[in-house]
Symmetry: C2
DNA sequence: TGCAACTATATCGTGCACGATACAAATTTA
DNA sequence: TAAATTTGTATCGTGCACGATATAGTTGCA
């Protein structure tokens, strides 16, 4: 074992996460295609279905995505009549995002999606408690990584 | 708890993976900036440092990335004089990718990177055995998800 | 041998991500 | 209250991802 073994792909921590993230997004695709949205648009809708009429900044905070990613994303969603964007009266800098009727109605059609995805994942080697445990570990990582990130700003 | 609770962002399985993947890539950035490459380019180099002079298809298989992603990526890497691309004599359809001297030399400068990243992650709540266990769980997921994907083709 | 099927790569179009920059509105501060 | 700073969005440029499509080279088989 020489000192460059740490650079083997199989040794990397980052690669499995990166790959699983892409593969999971791909696994969502057929279900999201059916209701005509992309994966990041689905995330925005999850936020709005939970709490409607919020600012772009609030969406950005919840999804950990920069506003320069979300801004054009929301513009595309507005074009598809999923949401409305209006300047906030109290603070004219801020833009409030609200679901349209079409956007609200998609919620019902989205309800079965998480379960379908779980069924894809759950096999002999992957069981529900394991998935839940992994989720909580990853949430701890998010805390560490997003703190680390803001420390570097 | 109504039947739409499964659509809460905090309930989602996909979101933590997606976020950790992005945050991890961001955490790599300062180290990769220093040697002038992007994260996906780093992955390609990891593959080539381990086994040089292989085809685009072989890189695609190892990284689970489509060739239509890797093709332009390699073109950018060739422009930056990290690799060479040459048609294979035995099979003129195939393109062999080879490290340049500059590409090979980057390996030494990349050696410390994985350890630096581990130091970012390891805290009171995240320890090395936990990270290793998570890595093996994710590798199981890759198997399941990539099998599922190829079943749908 | 001829031609259909397959394989390896490239190109195109769309949609993220994100750093850098711009800019107007709001807030702080001198 | 005027000037400096901060905040909230938008825009621009670059680099992925990936489905769809194109194309040249190879293989299989009637």
């Amino acid at each position: 074992m020489d000192n460059t073994d740490s650079l083997k792909l199989s040794q990397q921590l980052c690669f499995p996460i990166y790959s699983v993230s892409r593969l999971l997004t791909k696994a969502y695709k057929p279900y999201l295609d059916e209701i005509g949205i992309t994966y990041p648009q689905y995330l925005v809708l999850l936020v709005l279905w939970e709490k409607d009429d919020i600012s772009i900044q609030q969406i950005s905070d919840k999804l950990l995505l920069n506003t320069n990613t979300i801004s054009p994303l929301l513009q595309r969603m507005e074009k598809r009549d999923l949401i409305e964007r209006n300047r906030c009266h109290k603070d004219e800098r801020s833009v409030k995002v609200k679901l349209t009727e079409k956007g609200s109605e998609l919620k019902l059609r989205a309800v079965p999606i998480p379960e379908e995805l779980l069924n894809v994942l759950i096999t002999e080697n992957i069981r529900l408690p394991e998935i839940k445990q992994l989720k909580s570990v990853l949430e701890e990582w998010i805390t560490v990584l997003s703190t680390h990130e803001s420390n570097n700003k």
